[in-house]
């Protein structure tokens, strides 16, 4: 996946399908977070943790493009998404009511890796970065992971995704919280909680704002005993979501070698095809931080 443009493997689009589902529930979780549950049988049956769907719930061209959202969890023929109204598309989505149609193209992208299953899983969530994790937590537990700890951070307590929704009834999942203002859990950054919980048997899974992920990357790089692996889920503005527009480039460290020529120092990988989940060591962090925030496009 790190070869030159065009030699990247094609993502597994074999499972992706365009389906029109029905909204079942729109729950306000507090702090602006909204969880939308919809009947989307195909997505529910096929989505793996970390994968996303391109959603559309409006007619016409305002907005024009679909919007990408992680699959938060699935249950039978239902899927859930966690989001917040930040722009025109998300405003339309949070305004949905039960019975409304919701169009989904998915599952798309790659997912988190948990085969073989880690002995410890450290799930690091920042703000809306919670979105892919209920599904991952369940999958890890089903795969037999004995120790799943969620580190859940947000600006304030009100904006924390409810711990119970990470667990989804599984008492074996630990959830530790952190808030910038200290209104709940640890006062400070969620990444502060990582170091002491990481060992060579751990896989770290993280999703959140780029600054948080970069902080995590440097925390991990500074550890005496690094984790077995660390995977982050990234965002990029997307045209298509399925690898044809080449719009969702993210900076990655150049592959090197004569068969991976680079015209410039930085290489790009497609978020929708080589991502959204990438190994932490693959991401070119300084270049990523130099970009405008993903939501600026």
């Amino acid at each position: 996946m790190t070869g030159p443009p065009g030699t990247e493997l094609l993502s597994d689009l074999g499972r992706a399908r365009d389906e029109v589902g029905e909204v079942l529930e729109v729950q306000l979780l507090g702090g602006g977070l909204v969880e939308i549950t919809a009947r989307l049988p195909h997505l529910a049956a096929t989505a793996r943790p970390g994968e996303f769907a391109q959603l559309r719930a409006w007619q016409g061209v305002e907005p024009l493009l679909r919007r990408p959202f992680s699959v938060a969890w699935t249950e039978g023929d239902r899927c859930a998404f966690v989001l917040e109204a930040v722009g025109s598309g998300t405003r339309m989505l949070v305004a949905l009511r039960p019975g409304d149609a919701l169009r989904s193209l998915g599952p798309l992208g790659n997912g988190f890796g948990f085969d073989p299953c880690p002995a410890r899983a450290l799930v690091v969530s920042g703000g809306l970065g919670c979105a892919p994790f209920p599904l991952l937590v369940r999958a890890l537990r089903r795969a037999g992971c004995p120790d799943v700890t969620v580190l859940s951070g947000a600006a304030t307590g009100a904006r924390l995704y409810p711990a119970e929704r990470f667990r989804r009834g599984d008492g074996g999942v630990a959830v530790l919280e952190a808030t910038d203002d200290g209104s709940r859990g640890h006062r400070g950054r969620v990444t502060d909680l990582v170091a002491s919980r990481c060992d060579a048997a751990t896989i770290v899974y993280a999703c959140g704002p780029n600054v948080m992920l970069a902080a995590l990357a440097s925390t991990l790089a500074g550890l005496a005993g690094p984790p077995r692996r660390a995977e982050v889920s990234l965002e990029a503005p997307m045209g298509c979501g399925f690898g044809t527009c080449l719009g969702c480039a993210l900076p990655v460290v150049a592959g090197g070698g004569p068969d991976a020529p680079r015209e410039h120092g930085t290489a790009w990988a497609l978020c929708c095809r080589s991502g959204p989940v990438m190994e932490v060591s693959r991401v070119a962090w300084p270049e990523l931080l130099a970009l405008p925030p993903a939501h600026v496009a």
Binding site: P5, L64, P237, G239, C240, L246, W268, A297
Partner: protein, 318 residues
């Protein structure tokens, strides 16, 4: 109607016969591999590949796409694996598909274009070339789409090299698109496609700066450009006799019909595919339903329009 499918095939000349007039526009369908997983691209009239250059290109830094009202801007920067990979790895696959694959070729110098074409000449599965002369300055090369004489020289050289169908993709960012169309037709182009994207900019009020990198500009595509694309196609249609392929903001079959009324012999669906991977198929199905009406030739349709009192030459604006 005889009950079967009406024959919608379009003979664009020099061996390129599209089974129907609906293609996937360059840069919006990659090389077909991804879309094949999502839709039955073999039903379509043509697949126009991503702009392919002599050497692999990693493309521009992000962000590369940004949405605007009724459209999107892109600044992909011809991210592509290079002609060698396309010829050696992709083309043999194309040969197995029934959709005609037209390779969109982009380049810096005339030599780059020609070396690119030469490599493709040996490759199977290629139904024709779409010369992307509307690609921007790369490696200090000149923008052929904006210089009729330079465009003609490039096309003449390409013509001498290949007997495959040679389509030229015109830039709308010119004073007189008809002049460029005439120049490339005169130099041996078999058809022209119009339009490529319009230079646009999105400014973000939050960061108080353009969203896209570099100069901050990108190519505008999508519904917002349809009126501009229609005007360009009508102008080109009036200027040349070779087939014109209309592209720009086609979202549904009605849009495609409008392009045909304006003078297009076939169409390409671009940005709509991002919104709905099946958009081109929907356009095709809609055209089939409308097929009996499709026969009206552009010129005739234009004549059917409003005729101003004699002596009045309407101004284009103001």
């Amino acid at each position: 109607m005889t009950g079967g499918h009406p024959d919608l095939s379009v003979d664009l000349g020099r061996g390129l016969v599209l089974p129907n007039p609906v293609g996937l526009a360059s840069g919006t369908a990659g090389y077909g591999f991804e879309l094949r997983r999502l839709i039955d691209i073999d039903r379509l009239g043509a697949l126009f590949t991503k702009g392919t250059t002599l050497r692999p290109r990693p493309g521009n830094p992000p962000p590369r796409v940004a949405e605007v009202r009724g459209g999107m801007l892109n600044s992909i920067g011809l991210h592509n694996p290079g002609v060698e990979h396309v010829a050696a790895v992709y083309a043999p696959e194309f040969a197995r598909w029934s959709v005609p694959v037209v390779v969109n070729v982009a380049g810096g110098s005339v030599d780059d274009y020609l070396l690119c074409l030469r490599r493709l000449e040996d490759a199977p599965g290629i139904a024709g070339y779409e010369l992307n002369i509307s690609c921007p300055n790369i490696e200090g090369g000149m923008d052929y789409g904006q210089d009729a004489a330079a465009a003609a020289r490039l096309v003449a050289a390409a013509r001498a090299l290949t007997s495959r169908h040679l389509m030229v993709k015109l830039s709308p960012n010119v004073t007189d698109i008809a002049e460029v169309a005439r120049a490339v037709a005169g130099a041996g182009a078999d058809s022209v496609s119009a339009v490529n994207t319009f230079v646009g900019m999105k400014v973000h009020r939050g960061i108080r700066a353009p969203v896209l990198p570099g100069r901050g500009t990108g190519g505008l595509s999508g519904p917002a450009i349809k009126p501009l694309g229609l005007a360009a196609v009508a102008r080109v249609r009036a200027a040349v006799r070779i087939p014109v392929i209309g592209v720009g903001g086609i979202m549904d079959a009605g849009d495609a019909v409008e392009y045909m009324i304006a003078g297009a012999d076939a169409v390409q669906v671009g940005t709509a595919t991002f919104v709905d991977p099946g958009a081109a198929l929907a356009v095709l199905d809609g055209l089939r339903d409308a097929a009996p009406g499709l026969r009206a030739r552009p010129a005739a349709a234009l004549r059917g329009g409003t005729v101003p009192p004699a002596g009045v030459e309407p101004a284009s604006t103001g």
